[in-house]
């Protein structure tokens, strides 16, 4: 089994560089503060396997000013989101059409101390992005259950100007990179939603069925952050959905009854996002468990295998 010594080697190389950790958590904290306190505007590109798009961001913050942010896709269809104080006010139709009946739970704030439990923070050096000097901070996963992240943080403001998601082989899974950034407050008109931006309404909580599920095993550091339920896109079945996160990475688990249909297990990868479907036998018939998230395939597979309905557990 060659992978074990390989893993030990990797771990060893991570442990050999503890000095930069403090500096790293300072940079991470500065990032969290910057997005809360600074106004800026800019354009960035997002790239993953098979997709490349360009976007604008207008971000207003500061003392006595409501935190207001507008994001707009510049090519193709005009995807748009407007947030006020972290709450989505409106989104273009296609960006929120899967959220009917969904309930949104408050997000965990970026917590450098907590993250350093699962990621080693390593300062890699300096770089230049969007014409600005940046420091490079790597978040190296301490286990095989999450991907690595490379952040290029603006030296002047602490904002992330470039963000790379990298797997355990060092392969790039996705890139977000600013091409231009200004630290002026955006013009108010640029923060106003366009006509295509529809108000996002959240339905009532229907958590009973989703809570009928739990996972026997979770990757370390991940905890349940949201439970929703909605109709299957293809049938009338109710699909339970649970969302788990470690403060950075996130995955959703969908449970849909099969009602005797013969369906094979599948696994596939879409850029940074993996999807693994596994059939699970329960007392009430077979259920297809699908794990979707920005986690390694093996981890998703293991989560899918570990889902249990509470009815089964009680037996």
């Amino acid at each position: 089994m060659r992978f074990i010594p390989f893993g030990v080697l990797l771990l060893g190389s991570w442990l050999a560089l503890p000095a930069a950790a403090d500096e790293g958590s300072v940079m991470l904290q500065r990032l969290a503060d910057a997005e809360r306190t600074l106004s800026f505007q800019g354009t960035f590109v997002y790239e993953r396997n098979g997709s490349f798009s360009t976007h604008s961001i207008w971000h207003q913050a500061g003392e006595g000013v409501a935190l207001r942010e507008r994001l707009l896709q510049l090519d193709g269809s005009a995807q748009e989101v407007v947030r006020v104080d972290g709450q989505v006010q409106c989104a273009s139709g296609a960006l929120a059409d899967q959220l009917i009946d969904s309930q949104l739970w408050p997000a965990r704030a970026l917590n450098a101390e907590q993250l350093s439990e699962w990621y080693e923070l390593r300062v890699l050096g300096k770089s230049r992005v969007a014409g600005r000097a940046t420091d490079v901070l790597a978040l190296v996963p301490r286990d095989q259950h999450r991907y690595g992240i490379e952040l290029h943080l603006d030296q002047q403001t602490g904002l992330p100007l470039k963000s790379l998601l990298v797997n355990d082989k060092g392969q790039l899974l996705e890139r977000l990179q600013f091409t231009q950034l200004e630290t002026d407050a955006p013009v108010p008109s640029n923060l106003e939603p366009s006509a295509g931006c529809r108000p996002v309404r959240l339905g009532p909580v229907q958590a009973q069925a989703a809570e009928a599920w739990r996972s026997d095993w979770l990757p370390p550091g991940f905890s349940l952050s949201s439970v929703t339920q909605r109709r299957s896109p293809a049938s009338d079945e109710l699909v339970a959905c649970q969302v788990y996160g470690d403060g950075l990475a996130r995955f959703s688990v969908f449970m849909e009854p099969l009602r005797g249909e013969a369906v094979e297990d599948v696994r596939t990868q879409l850029g940074p996002t993996v999807a693994v479907s596994r059939r699970l036998k329960t007392r009430d018939g077979d259920v297809m468990v699908t794990v979707v998230g920005e986690i390694p395939l093996g981890t998703a597979e293991r989560v899918a295998l570990s889902m249990r309905s509470l009815g089964e557990v009680a037996q």
């Binding site: 098979g50 896709q73 977000l176 969908f254 879409l270 395939l297 093996g298 597979e301």
Partner: protein, 197 residues
């Protein structure tokens, strides 16, 4: 030369265990539809056992799909197909258990090249190109009907089941992340990248 001998040779070739004589034997017979069909079935079983995604563009996978589509009627074939699937499932279950016990690093083969996979699993592995994302991405569309072809990796019974649901699951996941967090542009960009243009 008997059919049985030929199949043994074929098996040996696929396991990289064939000697030159066996290789010649198989190559000489490789035009026979029957041998090709057997080859395809072995290929499918191997793919299931080794957890490889069948690449739909490959000739071999097309041949399997065709064969499966054609042989719905004969009862004997049905039985055989059923047993293959059972074997496959058992093998999948076994290999998953091993992977879970042994740690998942071995199992993260989404992007491992054939050579690396061979090295890590110490199993002879046919050099099948690994599908990671592009095949699905190219066909990906926000409309639920036009589904990613790669999603039906080993699917036989209900090819439409996952195609109807996976795009929607992916989008729900991305949108929940984008809407529920205030952590900047990345979750938004991921969700936006799933929408058609």
């Amino acid at each position: 030369m008997s059919r049985e001998t030929l199949q043994e040779s074929l098996s040996a070739v696929m396991d990289n265990q064939a000697d030159e004589l066996e290789l010649r034997r198989v190559l000489a017979a490789s035009d026979e539809p029957e041998l090709r069909a057997t080859w395809s079935r072995y290929q499918l079983a191997r793919a299931v056992m080794h957890k490889e995604l069948l690449e739909p563009r490959l000739d071999i996978a097309a041949a399997v799909s065709e064969a499966l589509a054609d042989d719905v009627a004969p009862v004997a074939q049905q039985v055989q197909r059923g047993s293959w699937r059972t074997v496959g499932r058992l093998a999948v279950a076994a290999s998953v258990t091993v992977a879970v016990l042994a740690g998942v690093r071995f199992y993260n083969q989404d992007d491992i090249t054939g050579a690396q996979l061979a090295q890590q699993s110490s199993q002879p592995v046919l050099n099948i190109p690994q599908v990671s994302g592009p095949a699905m991405l190219a066909g990906f569309n926000s409309s639920d009907e036009q589904a990613p072809p790669a999603a039906s990796a080993v699917g036989q019974g209900q090819p439409g089941w996952h195609e109807q649901r996976l795009p929607s699951y992916l989008r729900q996941h991305a949108q929940q992340a984008a809407m529920s967090t205030s952590e900047g542009a990345l979750p938004y960009a991921r969700a936006a990248s799933l929408e058609g243009r």
